[in-house]
Amino acid sequence: MTRKITIDPVTRVEGHGRVTIHLDEYGQVKDSFFHIVEFRGFERFIQGHPYWEAPVLVQRLCGICPVSHHLAAAKAIDQIVGIDPKDLSATATKLRRLMHFGQLFQSHALHFFYLASPDLLFGVDAPAEKRNVIAVAAEHRELAIQGITMRKFGQEIIKAVAGKKIHGILAVPGGVHKTFSEAERDYFLDGKNIENIDTMIAWSQAMVAFMRDYHEKHHKFLDEFAAFPSGHLGMVGPDGAMEMYDGKLRAIDFEGKRTLDDISTDLYQDYFAEGVAQWSYMKFPYLKSLGRENGWNRVGPLARINVCDYIPTPLAEKARQDFIAFTGRKINNSTMFSHWARLIEVLHSAEVIKDLLHDPEIFGTDLVRKGERRSKGIGIIEAPRGTLTHHYEVDEKGMITKCNLIVSTTHNNDAMNTAVKWVANNVISRKGHITDGMLNQVEVAIRAYDPCLSCATQAMGKMPLKAELYNHKGELIDERFKA
């Protein structure tokens, strides 16, 4: 009898996802899919709006990563007013970077403490009622306080530069609308009102050390769980440094061979295509040169660590070297190492924030530049979850006529599906029964990519929870709800 298991939706991811696993008559996995079934429509309904509204409107894609959409759209709209990244004033660039790294810091902290840590601290087989942040707070009080404080710190950075923690506005076409004050800077340095940036760095280092130790203790599971070869995509600076705000696109295969050689972000359309599937609203981006089957790439922290030559802050670079030495491999294809890579980026973000807070150019008054109007703008940044593309075209009146978004999570679509297949084949296949722990392992594999399904599908509405099991005739024989 063929059976189909459905996990709907996957919990502790941002948005609504659903997994179906098809078993044959012997209980062996025949196929599996990670479905995204929410409405997708932002690219369409932003058409007809004036270009300057885009950086504000696109923030409504998501309450978790509005800063990333704001900045990617802002970079694109800069080009429409004739300003390339090199033309932006130093103050505008540095304030945008401060906001961006505040977002990276708080988003990664959220993922580790709220979403991933329950699995790591209590185990993937722990009872469902333990696998949440409430249980972490009850049993690991200091860790939970650090998590909350770190997230708050990142959000306060965003609030300081943008006015609000969520959906604040910093960027305007060609620059930023406000500068930074010394009082605002001191708020993050003096430790009088919140823990200061040095504490954030120290805690970030401790988190990296915790994760390294965790890998030492759970070497086999973390090395093997949902490990598979794939391409990796990320942004790098001119000298190959990890770059989050503006740089060239680099992709490598599972062994490190270049498949995309530091191309300008403006040329992304020449190199990338997007596939679709009947069973998901989420697109499948891939490198044209390698085709739909082989051209997909992972994005996000693990991919960025893999593609860069170094991290341009000392403590994070030391952590990266340690990360590479741990496995003895330059290119890491193990899904669960994403958590470690993410924490290295937390440390990197804290170091960059400190550098920017000590940079006098953040107090500058040269905020907005103007150039010659263009009809097209492309903005690409490295969002917390990976490479994020915003592309707009406008008519002579400045109204948006075309919008294309390639959101980080869509790049990871194939990777998440492959991870689900791995779990299905290695954990569920031929077991004869399905436990809650097995289902959670499917979610653990997906959660490692920190997917934001709201962004990826531009979802609207509520997101219910459901799991279903089907036989080979397509008949529902079991179901689970998570709400």
Partner: protein, 168 residues
């Protein structure tokens, strides 16, 4: 800079909701009105949803009022209820209940603020920034109850006594 620091001695009002979704903006509208009063003793925050880290925020105040829209029918169009810590957990990382936030404040920061929920009945949750006729009517009623109490705080030199906020 003042907006990054709170007056932590007295009362925090948190407006919860989304002004882009019709009556879901009721909480923010109340927060707007209180914010415009610029009272020394009252801090105001806006939230689309409550999040885990709001436990830290509420732990810094002796009294917290959550103002939110309600889909449920409420006698008289609004309700004023004490709010106690509770350890229910919602699966999402970005949506927690006031009770959970208070539970985390108590568990993590050993603080148990006196807390209340002002719920205002709404009717329309579609895209758009306007309140429905019903939502606006109940907002006026809730304001007539809540705002005078808040105004009195300005001149009252005694500590705020929220227990005296009687709504029947």
């Amino acid at each position: 800079m003042s907006d990054l620091k709170h007056n932590k001695e007295q009362l925090l009002v948190i407006g919860i909701g989304n002004i882009g979704r019709g009556d879901d903006g009721l909480g923010w509208k109340m927060a707007d009105i209180i914010s415009e009063m610029e009272l020394d003793k009252v801090s105001v925050e806006y939230r689309y949803q409550l999040q885990v880290e709001d436990a830290h925020l509420v732990s810094e105040f002796p009294i917290v009022v959550f103002v939110d829209a309600s889909k449920e029918k409420l006698p008289g169009g609004f309700s004023w209820q004490p709010c106690k810590p509770g350890d229910h957990y919602f699966y999402s990382s970005h949506l927690q209940s006031p009770e959970t936030v208070l539970y985390l404040a108590e568990t993590l920061f050993s603080k148990k603020p006196e807390a209340y929920i002002l719920a205002i009945e709404g009717e329309n949750w579609d895209l758009g920034e306007c309140l429905s006729e019903i939502g606006d009517k109940y907002f006026q009623k809730a304001s007539a109850f809540f705002i005078p109490h808040i105004k009195n705080l300005q001149t009252n030199t005694q500590p705020i006594q929220m227990q005296s906020f009687a709504h029947t």
